[in-house]
Structures are given as C-alpha cells and as structure tokens.
C-alpha cells in the first residue's frame, strides 16, 4: 500500500528525519493503552498545519489511510493503525501560542501536554479544569478528539465545554477554522462541538482555542468513608441537592478499598464499604463554609470516618489513596478491561448492585471506582487472559454492564470513546438511523475514507 515512492513524497513534505519506516519505529507507534497492536507502514511527524494538510492531500491522491495520534494513551484504540497505513503524530506541534489574560482564552497546538498547559495558565492566575487521569502525558489534541473528562468535570464540565474554536485539517486536506474567540457565535453549524469527541475521524486538529477561568483561591480535600455504598451514594445526591457542587466527588467501592488497603496497608477502617474523596474549591471563606456544611450533610449517612486535609501536603496524602488504586488492581488479576459507563448520579448504587450480580454470574472480579459526582463509574473487569475462556466471559460480562447502564438512561462510555474497543457494542446504544446520520457526515467530509478508517462504527465485512 505504501511504496517507496510515497515514502519519498512524505519525506519531501515533513523532512526525511520525520518519516520513520524501520520496523522498530513502526512497533513503537502501533500500540496504545488498550495493549492492542497494529503495525503501520510509516510514521510521520509533521510540524505545521501545512505539512498535515499536504500529508492528507497525498493520502487522498495515493489512497492510503492516515491515523492521527497524540501521546497514544487512549483506552479504546482510537489512534491505532488497524489495517496499516500512515500514523500521523502531532507531538511536534507543541507550542502554546498565546494566553490572553484580558479575554481569558488561550490558543495552543495539539501536541501540548495537558499538564504543561495547566501549569502555564496557572502561573498567570488562570485555570484550565479538565483533568483526565493521563494529564501528565496526554496531549490536548487527543483530549479534544476524545472529549476527555476527569474528576473535576462534576463542577466544571468536560474538555468540550472549554473548546471555543479549532483549526482543523479536513480529511481532504482543506484547512478550516471552526468557532472562534467569542463566547457567542451562531453563524453556521457548530462544527467545534462536532469535532470534539470525533476520535480523529473527521479531521486533524491543528490549533485549539480554549476558554479559561480564574484560578480558584484555594481548595479543601476530604476523605470520607461510609459503612455502605448507599450511604456514599446518598451523600453524593444530598450534597448536590443542598446546592453545593464540589470540584470532585471521587468514589471507590468495597472491592477497590480492599485492594488498596491490603496492598499498601493504609489502615483504613475495617467497617468501611465505600469511600468518597470530596474536594471543594473557591474563595477561602466560602470553601470553609462548604466543607462544614458537607460534614453536616453526610454525618447521618453511615459515615465511618472523615479526614479533612489541613494543607496541600495532607490533601496530597488523601489523594494518594485514589492514585494507588491502579497499581493495586494488578494483585487481583494481571489483565483488565477498563470500562467507563455513566448513569444518572442517583443510579450509582443501582448500577453497582447490578455489576455485583454480573460479577457473581460470570465469576470474574470487577472493581469499581470513579467519578460519582457525574455518575461516571470506572468498571474494571479483572481477568487473566492466560486462563482459557476467561476473555470471552469478560466480553459477555461487559456487554451486560453496558446494557444495564443503558437501561438506567446512561451511556456505555463517558470518557474513553469508542475507537476499536467498543465498536462491537455500539449497536446497544445507537439506533441504525443514528449511525446512518453519523456515517453520512463521515462520508461527506472524508469521501475517500482515508482518515482513521475502521473506527467507531462497525465495519461491514
């Protein structure tokens, strides 16, 4: 598919140093956090919008697929070159172009690492809230393409809610701008929102204009332990029902708690059945009041223990409990599927109970934690792929978990996207007419189906 002639043309566009074809380099751009692997035929590292455009024009004329890739930290295979073709890496486009403190906006290139951007705006007293777990290494381009979320979304919203405008290279190679720098703007379709979460199938994002907020003065972290999952869930709805929106409401179920406690010996109380890490932010006085009010609200809900951080170091210590979850899961089983269903927040205990039943039915350990405040639960199906039949069972269990979330008016995925991993299940959530509408958009923008083909929608064989 990719012959020497095409390689030479690619080299002319991005420079020979920025085209890789050695088997070693191809291997290194063939994986992501799904641990699936597909080898591309070439990897290109463009450094400008024009180079991206030229690569896509060449792809159309020579008819080869192009797979945009940021840090390659996705959980659904969105950046994987299934079927072969050219991986287009955006990490050389890594400049923060401007931070406008008067209009509270910033313009960046897609390869900027999320945390680097956050630190840069925070130096100026500004705030970019979206905080996917991968923020130390994921790129903003990837965050927009996958519409990444994170713990703080309960108060501030997801990546999409901060994207005001984009520069995009369409699959044909045309360069367009969407949205802009103004909060208001109603001329034409809202292409910006269409592109957020489009998983690299509708265009390559080359510039992003973000909305920023003033940096909150302070934050306060609480680690609260309940004697039942219902108590914790009731706490979530009561806090919000009392008109307090915490920055984060992170939840860990009993299975998670057991994992972390036994591996790291944290001395959490034996009677604990669920944990909530609650954080509030804002003016110093306000958060003290909010924290006190939250304690009042949750006290009668089977609260076993409530630790309140007095300073940043103590806050860090409380968050450590959450951060130790992933490493400790490996003690359960070596392999895992990390799903991220969402249900309306009042249904969190219901979905946990259903998952417990599914777990018993298939005899597979399932560990749940995540963002209780917005009903987004990370369902970790822990398996050992070397045990025959276990992988198949896991897929059946996952399908049941998805269906349960949908039955509660939820969704299969709050943050991770579809990519390749959830493709087989998409029909559970989307009706044929919905899929057809989406595919019509894809076909209109990408007539030769060269940009990230074979993703999201089921591929007809």
């Amino acid at each position: 598919m990719i012959d020497q002639q095409i390689i030479e043309k690619l080299e002319k566009i991005v420079g020979a140093d920025n085209v890789s074809t050695s088997r070693q380099e191809l291997i290194c751009y063939g994986y992501d956090a799904t641990q699936m692997e597909f080898l591309p035929d070439a990897v290109v590292h463009p450094s400008s919008t024009e180079e991206v455009s030229a690569v896509l024009r060449l792809a159309n004329s020579e008819n080869f697929p192009v797979f945009p890739r940021g840090a390659g930290s996705g959980f659904t295979g969105g950046a994987l070159p299934k079927g072969g073709g050219v991986v287009l890496v955006t990490t050389r486009l890594d400049r923060i172009l401007r931070i406008d403190t008067e209009n509270l906006i910033a313009e960046v290139e897609p390869g900027v690492v999320t945390e680097q951007f956050q630190l840069a705006v925070e130096k100026l007293g500004l705030f970019y809230p979206p905080d996917p777990a991968s923020l130390k290494f994921s790129t903003l381009g990837g965050n927009v393409a996958e519409n990444a979320g994170g713990p703080r979304c309960v108060k501030y919203g997801v990546t999409r809610d901060f994207v005001m405008g984009l520069e995009v290279v369409l699959p044909t190679g045309d360069i367009i701008r969407t949205g802009g720098e103004t909060y208001k703007g109603v001329v034409g379709y809202d292409m910006t929102r269409l592109l957020c979460g489009s998983e690299g199938t509708l265009g390559v994002i080359t510039k992003i204009i973000f909305k920023l907020l003033p940096l909150p003065e302070a934050k306060k972290t609480m680690l609260t332990i309940f004697d039942s999952i219902d108590g914790a869930a009731k706490a979530v709805s009561s806090i919000i029902g009392n008109k307090i929106i915490p920055t984060t409401l992170e939840f860990m179920d009993y299975a998670t708690l057991k994992c972390v406690n036994s591996r790291f010996n944290l001395g959490l109380p034996e009677s604990g059945r669920a944990v909530l890490i609650i954080e509030v932010d804002g003016d110093r006085e306000l958060i003290e009041k909010q924290a006190a009010r939250i304690q009042e609200i949750i006290a009668p809900l089977g609260l076993v223990e409530c630790k309140i951080a007095k300073d940043a170091a103590e806050s860090e210590a409380l968050w450590k409990v959450r951060r130790l979850v992933s490493p400790s899961l490996r003690d359960v089983n070596p392999d895992k599927y990390n799903e991220d269903v969402v249900v309306p927040r009042s249904k969190v205990p219901d979905i946990i109970r259903v998952i417990e039943k599914i777990q018993a039915k298939y005899d597979i350990p399932i560990v749940n934690f995540g963002h209780a405040g917005d009903g987004n639960i990370h369902v970790n199906v822990m398996i050992d792929k070397s045990i025959p039949g276990m992988d198949e069972k896991a897929h059946e269990a996952i399908a049941e978990v998805f269906q349960a979330a949908l039955d509660m008016n939820g969704t299969m995925s709050g943050e991770h996207g579809v990519g390749l991993a959830k493709q087989p299940y998409i029909h559970l959530e989307l009706k044929p007419a919905q899929v057809a509408a989406m595919q019509a958009i894809k076909a209109a923008l990408d007539p030769n189906n060269i940009l990230n083909p074979g993703k999201m929608f089921p591929v007809e064989k």
């Binding site: 390659g72 991968s134 290494f137």
Partner: protein, 426 residues
Amino acid sequence: MNNADILKRVESELKKCVKCGACRANCPAFTAFGKEPAVARGKLALCQHLLKGDIELDDETYLAMSKCLLCGNCVDKCPNSVPTDEIVMVAREALARQRGLTTFHKAVGQVIQNRSMMKFGAAAGRILGPLFFKKIPETSGLRLRFPLPFIGNKRHIPPLAKKPFLERHPEVIQGEPGKPRIVFFVGCMTNFCYPQVGEATLALFRHLGCTVIIPKNQQCCGLPGMSGGDLDTVRNLAEKNLIELERYEADYIMSACATCGGALHKFYPNLIGKRHPELAARLKAIADKTVDASQLLHKLGLKPEETGAGRDVKITYHDPCHLKTRSIISQPRELLRGTPGVELAEMEGADKCCGLGGTFNVYHYESSMKINAGKSAAIIKTGAEAVATGCPGCMMQLSDGLKQAGSSIKVIHTLEVLARKLNKRR
C-alpha cells in the same frame, strides 16, 4: 542460542507494562528525542518483539536501547513498577553478545576490572587515553565513568586530584566505642576527581564518633559496565567488592555517590543477584546495609550547626536521580536548611535529571546537554551562589552545563556544605 533469549529472564516484568504512557512524563531521554523508541514504553515493546523474534539485535534496536540514562525515573512513576532500567541493561547485554562490545565498552571493561583502585587512574589513562583522550590530561578515573570520545574541548572536566582519596588515609579510622561502624564505599569520581567530597564525608562521620573503614581494595561499582551490557565484568567487580565490603563487621555501607549507592543498593541484588544465585544472598545483605551519606547523617542526628558553613550563602539543591528514586529527598534538604547561614532556594524542577546518564553522555552528548539546558536555566534563575547535590556524576554534568551557559555558580556536594567548619579546623 539466540542472544535475544536472555530477555526471557525479564519476561514476567515485561508483561507488566500496559502501555499506558505514564513514562512519557518522566523520561529525560524522551524530553531530548521526542520520539517513542526513546521512552520506556517503546523500549519495552521492542524487548517484547525481540523475544518474539520478529526484530533483530541490529543497529535500530541498538540505537533505541542506547537512548536510556538508566535514571530510574520511569520505574519510580510507573503504575506497575516495571523495572525498565534493569530490562534495558539486559537488552544491552543481548546486544553486546550479538554484536560484541563496542571498542569503547571493551576499554571500559578493561579499566574497571583493574585489580587495584590505586592503579586504576593510570590504567584508565593507559588504555583509554590513546583511544579517545588525546586532548585531555591522562590518568583519569573520570575517563572510565564518563569518557568523552569525539567531543573535543567543549566539555568542562574537573581537574584531577594530585593524590587520590584512597591513598590518603589508613584503612580503619577508629571512632568511639559504641558508635556505628561504617564502611565507606568511595567510588571512582570521588577518589580521582572530587577527593574533597571524600574528606568532607570522613570528617562528618568522625565528628559523630563513628568508626570509618575505607577498604583499600574496593573496586569500581561497575555501573559503567552495566550500562554497556558488560554484565560479566560487573559480576567480577561485584564479587571483588563483596569480599572487601564483608571483610569488616559494619553497621552500614555508606556512599556519598548517588550512583555507586544505587548500584550497591539496587542493581547488585536485582541484576547480578538474579543471574548469579550463588551470590544473591550476599549481595542482598550488602544492599540492605547500603545507605547514602546524607541519609545516614540525618538518621544519626548530625547537628549541622556544629559542623556547617558559618557565612551567609544562598544555595539551591539538585536531586540526583539515584537518590530521589530511593526516596532520599527530604534528608539532604533538612540538613542544608539546618546549616547556619544557608538559605535553601528551591529551583524549578529540582528533581529533573541533569542529563548525564553515565555512558549515555558519551553516545548522545548533544541530547545530554539538551536535557541539561533546562537544569542550568533553573539553577541560574534561583540567584543562588552555589548548587549542592549528592552525586559526583551530577556535579560534573552541572558544572559543564553552567560553564557553557556562562555562569560562575559553584557546584558542590551537600556534604561539603555540611562539613565546612570541620574542614577549616583541620
């Protein structure tokens, strides 16, 4: 036998990598090269493919594996604690078996196996000199650990000691009864380039009444050999060091070099112990006793107001990777803060690697200095008069970077600050 098969030793560790990408945030080599084969995740994927046999131990594999500073930052921050540093060393061993050691690493092997540390500098000069160091003074242990082929005069080299540290003192310096007995593992850089670090270390532990034992026949820790995949040489050195370190009953084995300490504490048991079960228990015993000098001074309750610098000085502190990844972070800082007159000004990214990475610096000097550039800028920005650190390797790299940035900021070992009064007294 296929040389890549030796990677089977680390197969279970390789499987632990879930390709999450967290290493991208913590890898100095990735900062410099920006491409995935330079980062831990990429190298681990290549090792997996080497085991499958679908790539070769060829130039491309060699290049990828050379882009690692063995700093351990990725291991420290990996959610699954995959020991990439050790895996890379095994991969380098496979490469060395397949392709033969490079001329450079052959020379390194010859030098570091020289029986006597006393003759070590001379040997370095004799063997490495004609090969690489025409323009640099001869007889340098420095050339062993941080040899600098093809770099010319650009690199700043610390002057060599007239008399190496190990030739200056008797083997046993008796302390007060009931006080800890400490074996001092000196290391090449301290012995040949920074003997004042050795003097400061000795003075501080004597001040505390400790008995300090400096075995004359101690060898190079072997890390330069490890980094080249010459693990047979490392085994020989480890065995010789074992004999020296076991010779005396001691409460602690102490090093003032982060790298040597790291080798004894971590790489000896994990890398050599696993390959040579007959040495494993002994290596483990040594590793368990190994401490860093600043860590031990802190533990033994050194009062820096009794020993440290009297005049006002603003100092910043650089975390050596091989201290930081052993959780030795607060101890040197607390000791510095407790020193009269010392104002400790934290730099941005104090825990970022200086970019030396032992022999990484030999093959990728430009990239090494690219990693270092941010470090120099951060040091300069503090307005400090001096930067203190706990690793002679870092000291050399920091000096080089600062000199090239046109700065006159001094680079000193933490213990030199702590011992300033003692040294004046002598």
